[in-house]
Symmetry: C2
Subunit: 201 residues, 2 copies
Amino acid sequence: MVLDFYFDFASGYSYFAARRIEWLAAAHGAKVRWHPVLLPALTQVTGVLPSPVVPVKWAYVTRDMQRTAQEEAIPFNPSPAFPQMLIAPGRAMLWVRANHGEEVAVSFARTCFQAYYADAVDIADKAVLLGIAEGLGIDGSAFLAGMEDPAIKSQFKEGNERALAQGVFGVPFVIAEGEPFWGYDRFGNLERWLAAARKVA
Amino acid sequence: MVLDFYFDFASGYSYFAARRIEWLAAAHGAKVRWHPVLLPALTQVTGVLPSPVVPVKWAYVTRDMQRTAQEEAIPFNPSPAFPQMLIAPGRAMLWVRANHGEEVAVSFARTCFQAYYADAVDIADKAVLLGIAEGLGIDGSAFLAGMEDPAIKSQFKEGNERALAQGVFGVPFVIAEGEPFWGYDRFGNLERWLAAARKVA
């Protein structure tokens, strides 16, 4: 069983999802495939504006994120730069995956999420991403060059297009054998679905 | 403690919410104030299109509603007319409230929801609404005239405006002493919030 996990580093609910997806999968013998995407590229399909540009919605969403964090005891202390569009961390993750494998790439992604949402560090700053990469034993100058590699840039773009083709129109989004789950608030449903799928198997 | 409950008869998630809100409130010693609204009038603020007109989103939403209904054993057999914009049931409910009080109005609303989402009956049909009203002992000709009363029509419009002023931009939406809960998927949060509020009181 594979869980295709679509997320955007710019999304607070993606942070919540990224903290939980690996142990949720592990508990049900599933593997996670991490797909960094750019939410504004996906929402073109639905015409939905990013929440931060709609004041009444953003006021609600910030409150809801804080409430969720509090209820689940999730560290939540976002960077003052939040919210903003984030492209560099997604590209960086793809380069790390291509050069150091899935496991290091996932560690990179989780550290980015923690830095941005729990430790108030701005991961739009390439010096911060460099620090995270070097902390994982990655060569700094190769990493910095890699983020600017046109091949990586188009890989990130193609990832968005593949996500759209899979019916992904928001984040976080998980697809488990064709079954779609949109939103961190569907992780309970995902968990029950995985439990039921195991019984059948 | 009062729960302001905003819903649209056209919304499947409002149906789920309407089935649960009363016993949820009762369990925590709260009262519910039912506010029928027109979702398209609210989403003008956020620019969000109604899900049914966005094919990729509607495909997901129908699947998600079925999954929710299945998980929670909620009867879910919508009218073939679903989805559609619904104005008559909201106006009718306001007239019933004005002339027969809150309790009968809530019975009317719950019967409408059940007819439309569980018994596949089209509540856009005024003959159906008439049947529901007469089943509650309401005089049929007064009811039919009441739905067309300009005062009721503007009351429905004003209700939408009041909802917008309260920060309501979607349905179902519950506000409990200023704390906002958007979506049926936040009923778990609402329940925990009510439990915590009782402990403090």
